[in-house]
């Protein structure tokens, strides 16, 4: 790692003003499990001038519930979410997503805000500086995405955003989308559906350069609701998902009255499966219907040569996650 200036923010306002002061070359650090890796590998075009620590800001580590729902402070760790009895009971899909993220050790430092703001894991984008120099892919000003003609076995099966086919790697993002969360930032409340945007540079969200996530609000599920999360990865720990899926279903009188389903690891942004959701409404959730929903979820898939298998995985995992909700 190279040197940088390090600031302990004393308040959210302080953190924002530090970001504004160091306009282009500053990053905030929460748990650091993503950022420190980026710094060590020097993957960015410009090495940051300032790192701004959020952990010194009081009040960002709280889990609480009220009539609005579950409030997760930005710095709540994934371990805290995974082990919270209240989350496990009411927002099971989120607890499971947190539990399946990375490893026990990384969950102890990784935060919920960090997990939804993390950068993609494309192996071209993240190629380390230490063995020949980092790679100028399309996200770093290069002309073309190198994964398209190169190795894209883990890349997008739903096309590209600004020529890039990296996928969003988060496990908690699809769970929060299925649970219809709201991301509260220093300037606004963003519906989770509108939060992810792999439009530019290294960012994976709509956050402005000087905007910081402060809290995530997950509304109470309606009576008769259930949520679930599934992940397909080579290893049961450490790995990012080849494909993951979260779903939240509300059933009334034996029929589905609301459904939110989200796949991740399949596109630059987490991908809501709205056609599949619409299919379920008004029907009892059966194995056959879940399979149909799975098929619909990949109807628009445009896999590349090496990742056709992910389409098969995606449709299966959608059906399986739905059936988990039915249990």
């Amino acid at each position: 790692m190279k040197r940088f200036n390090h600031f302990d923010a004393t308040s959210i306002e302080d953190a924002v003003s530090l970001l504004q002061k160091h306009k282009d070359a500053s990053y905030v650090i929460a748990g650091g499990s993503d950022l420190v890796g980026c710094l060590k590998d020097k993957i960015w075009m410009a090495y940051p001038e300032a790192i701004i620590n959020l952990k010194t800001i009081p009040g960002l580590k709280e889990i609480r519930t009220d009539e609005d729902g579950l409030h997760l402070g930005a710095l709540v760790t994934l371990t805290e979410i995974a082990e919270s009895d209240i989350v496990k009971k009411e927002w099971a899909g989120l607890a499971e997503a947190a539990r399946r993220t990375a490893s026990a050790l990384l969950r102890n430092i990784g935060t919920i805000a960090g997990n939804i703001c993390q950068e993609n894991r494309c192996w071209y984008y993240r190629y380390p500086n230490k063995i020949g120099g980092s790679i100028d892919c399309v996200r770093k000003g290069g002309k073309r995405c190198l994964a398209v003609p190169g190795d894209h076995r883990f890349h997008s099966i739903f096309g590209q955003v600004k020529k890039c086919i990296a996928v969003n790697p988060s496990d908690t993002a699809p769970a929060l989308i299925a649970l219809n969360a709201v991301v509260k930032t220093t300037t606004r409340d963003v519906a989770i559906d509108a939060f992810f945007s792999a439009e530019m540079g290294s960012q994976s969200t709509v956050l402005d350069r000087d905007e910081i996530v402060t809290e995530i609000l997950v509304p109470h599920p309606a009576p008769g609701s259930a949520s679930a999360f599934r992940k397909l990865a080579y290893r049961k720990a450490i790995d990012f998902a080849m494909v993951n899926c979260a779903a939240a279903i509300t059933v009334e009188g034996g029929n589905v009255i609301s459904a939110r389903i989200c796949l991740n690891g399949v596109h630059n942004n987490p991908r809501r499966c709205q056609e599949s959701e619409a299919l379920l409404i008004g029907q009892p959730l059966t194995d056959a219907l879940a399979k149909q929903a799975g098929e619909l979820a990949v109807a628009e898939a445009k896999p590349l040569l090496q990742n056709i298998y992910k389409v098969q995985m995606a449709k299966t995992i959608v059906a399986d996650t739905l059936m988990d909700c039915a249990e």
């Binding site: 040197r3 230490k130 790679i135 190169g150 990012f240 056709i308 995992i317």
Partner: protein, 789 residues
């Protein structure tokens, strides 16, 4: 030795305490005042020439002490680069940060060359050459045909250079076969040789001598090699390696060969000698990931059988990747899986053509099994295909044909002997115990009887692995010191890289001397204080060092008994040595303590320690059949592995993996140590089903998995391994009847997995890794290549 007190017991690891307290010092834990740090600039291209370099800005940076390039240090750097990550230059500075900053200031102009990144491409005649003027594909240099079999001894008497390894008449063999099974294109992916501790070293010059602190599998071999490479006398170099954070063969250093990834030794030594300051040169994980790959093979197998399943003829063609000029010797070990060893029992006709192939990928190094796993994968997968086609039980087919004690190992290696006797086998016992453990008879079902989304499969594979070679170059020595207080020290250089040799060798000493294990210490941390020991490779430590340790202890014991005999006035043969001293066997009340046996001592004389010594210039005399020098016993590591798993036919994912590893070890000198060795079977699981492969960008040669997120080692959560240790007595090559145990666990897994997957879903996978993509394609759930409609 009817009742043993140390050997055969799971005594605690000799140096275990320091391993669990953090006191164990691995090379990076030696911190010296004023120590300088190194960072290495590495090639962005898979094949390039350095046209020019400008290091002035780097040299001018504050804190930089030395910039090393091919111009200033041609021993460590080359002008030509052969893989992405090849060494371009190094900066030595006061700390890593300054060194890293200086690297960015080095300006290099490269001229790129054409390159090849694939074994099959590299074999083609018009392929770009990795090394200019040299074909990429080489025939094994020691191919030999064996003939002139002695009817009485069954040994071959004549060895003739040939263009293949073998015996008999291959054409006749297939002509006379009732069933011929052929499988081409079996591919074992090129994989990264693993080790917890990345490569590196710290060199320290004390004014007289260069002390090289590093990990090691054989301090003395590496020291002699490094001294020669540096051009300094061996007496000026002390190699220090008290602990090694695992190696599995991969970290064996050989700085004389510029293609073997042990450059850190030269960089640190040269900088240290020039700057007269301690210099640390440690590889980051990313740098480690471009150093020392292994496996990587392509094999065609053809086997001829009689109607009853008797294997009479075998033909094997094998190509092994070495990356950019790495270790070329593993290729030969594919022969172990053939009629040369594993199927020697019935095989009459054998042909094995061995090749090694250079590419512009990362240089190869040894790894547990050293080429044997690739051969076993190819042959044992084909044997399963054969069992299926002949309608035979896979266990029964192997039981019928596998090697047995006394079968002939037919000289596949470049050794002094022509052929020899396999000293023990027990594979059939391993098959029996493993089958029983899994209730194979009742649980094994043909795949066409299976249905449903999740399907279970059982697979089996057997293996034979070399276990050190009786012959020159495999000598080891031991010195035993017995002290007047009745304790003893073993002085020897055998490396403990996790396999437990320090513990087991001390157990041997304790057993021979009749002392409690806790009274035996070990001196093993550097070359200055120890006599020569060959590197721990080929799982040879147990018997090559074992004989030296045993005989040295016997030597010391004889001397102590002689001293006691003198004092007690009885012949030495009438005495027994034990914790309390030396007693007359028939009248145990008549004793002398060790101190009494040693006699008076002081500043001006007396015996202060008794030293036993032995040089095992193998083979040990017991390694000859009936003492005949032309009839050598060759030990083998051997056993059977069973795999049980579930395949999800909708996702292609494999789960509920159980690995049952059954191995005949002759005598488990320390059962827990032996179990631990069998647990290393997980490396096979990694290679089989965790998606590991040498994934490089085909247009640029970049390694796309240069870290432990993208390159996957097994976690505690990925499978269960059940070790079944079988002790079949009677192996003559070890003082306690033990045979090797270590590398075998790496050999059978890939075939056992291929066989288990076939057994689950009826899809035969012949290319590793067995990914969900390959499984789904095999099942027809997705279409191969081309866009989904």
């Amino acid at each position: 030795m009817d009742k043993m007190t140390s050997v055969g017991k799971s005594v605690r690891q000799k140096d275990g305490r320091s391993r669990v307290t953090g006191e164990a010092r691995y090379y990076a834990d030696f911190l010296f005042p004023g120590m300088l740090h190194t960072r290495i600039l590495r090639s962005p291209y898979p094949a390039a020439e350095i046209v020019s370099m400008d290091t002035r800005a780097a040299e001018a940076l504050e804190g930089v002490r030395l910039v090393m390039t091919h111009e200033t240090y041609p021993k460590a750097f080359r002008k030509s680069l052969y893989y992405v990550g090849d060494l371009v230059a190094a900066v030595v500075a006061v700390d890593e940060t300054r060194a890293e900053e200086a690297l960015e200031l080095i300006d290099v102009e490269y001229k790129t060359r054409k390159f090849v990144l694939d074994l099959e491409e590299a074999i083609k005649p018009d392929s770009p050459q990795v090394f200019e003027g040299e074909a990429n594909c080489h025939d094994w240099a020691f191919h030999a045909f064996l003939s002139d079999r002695d009817p009485e001894t069954r040994l071959f008497k004549t060895k003739t250079p040939s263009d293949y390894n073998g015996f008999g008449d291959i054409d006749k063999g297939f002509e006379e076969a009732d069933v011929i099974i052929e499988q081409k294109g079996l591919k074992y992916a090129y994989c990264k040789g693993p080790a917890m501790e990345p490569r590196g070293c710290t060199a320290h010059f004390d004014g007289t001598k260069l002390h090289m602190h590093t990990h090691s599998q054989g301090m003395h071999d590496e020291k002699l090699c490094l001294a020669q490479a540096l051009g300094i006398s061996a007496s000026m170099l002390n190699y220090v390696s008290p602990f090694t954070g695992s190696s599995f063969g991969g970290k064996n250093a050989f700085p004389l060969d510029r293609n073997i990834p042990s450059h850190y030794l030269l960089i640190a030594s040269l900088a240290c000698l020039d700057l007269k300051k301690p210099v640390h040169c440690g590889y980051s994980r990313e740098e480690e990931m471009v150093s020392g790959w292994s496996r990587g093979s392509l094999t065609d197998v053809k086997i001829g059988f009689k109607k009853d399943g008797t294997l009479t003829t075998m033909d094997l063609a094998h190509w092994q990747e070495t990356g950019s000029g790495g270790d070329k010797y593993p290729a030969k070990n594919a022969m172990l899986a053939t009629g040369s060893v594993l199927y020697s029992h019935n095989c009459q006709h054998l042909r094995g053509k061995i090749h090694y192939v250079q590419t512009n990928r990362f240089p190869a190094a040894g790894w547990q099994g050293y080429g044997a796993p690739e051969g076993v994968f190819a042959v044992e997968t084909t044997m399963d295909i054969a069992a299926d086609q002949m309608g035979m039980d896979p266990v029964a087919l192997r039981r019928k044909n596998c090697m047995r004690a006394g079968d002939i190992d037919s000289g596949w290696d470049a050794l002094g002997y022509i052929s020899g006797y396999i000293s023990s086998s027990g594979i059939r016992d391993c098959l029996d115990v493993g089958s029983k453990h899994l209730d194979w008879k009742n649980t094994w079902e043909h795949p066409n009887k299976k249905s449903g989304r999740i399907r279970s499969g059982l697979g089996v594979a057997i293996f034979a692995m070399g276990a050190g070679r009786p012959g020159p170059g495999n000598s080891s020595e031991a010195m035993i010191k017995v002290f007047p207080d009745g304790s003893a020290s073993l002085v020897c250089a055998i490396a403990d890289i996790g396999q437990g040799q320090h513990t087991v060798q001390c157990q041997i000493v304790a057993e021979v001397l009749g002392l409690p294990y806790k009274k035996v210490g070990i001196v093993c941390h550097d070359t200055d204080s120890t006599p020569f020991a060959t590197l721990v490779a080929n799982s040879c430590g147990t018997w090559i060092q074992g004989w030296a340790t045993y005989e040295a202890a016997m030597d010391a014991k004889r001397q102590v008994l002689d001293l006691a005999a003198d004092k007690l006035g009885v012949p030495a043969e009438a005495l027994t040595m034990g914790e309390g001293g030396i007693c007359v066997t028939e009248s145990p009340e008549k004793c002398v303590s060790f101190a009494e046996a040693f006699g008076k001592r002081g500043h001006y004389g007396g015996i202060h320690e008794v030293i036993g010594h032995y040089v095992n210039n193998s083979p040990h005399p017991n390694g000859f059949k009936d003492g005949k020098k032309d009839q050598v016993y060759i030990p083998k590591e051997k056993g059977a592995q069973f795999i049980s798993l579930d395949v999800d036919t909708d996702t292609g994912m494999i789960s509920n993996i159980r690995v049952i590893m059954a191995q005949n070890v002759g005598k488990a000198l320390n059962p827990k140590v032996v179990e631990g060795q069998l647990l290393t079977s997980r490396h096979g699981v990694e290679n089989a089903v965790l998606g590991n492969d040498c994934i490089v960008d085909k247009r640029n040669g970049w390694l796309l998995t240069p870290n432990w997120v993208d390159y996957r080692h097994a976690t505690a959560m990925d499978c269960d391994v059940e070790p079944l240790v079988i002790e079949k007595p009677g192996d003559p090559t070890h003082p306690f009847g033990a045979t090797a145990c270590g590398e075998g666990a790496a050999c059978p897994s890939l075939a056992a997995f291929s066989n288990a997957i076939y057994n689950a879903i009826g899809v035969r996978l012949i290319e590793t890794p067995f990914t969900p993509e390959r499984i789904l394609m095999g099942l027809g759930k997705i279409k191969a290549k081309g866009r989904k409609k």
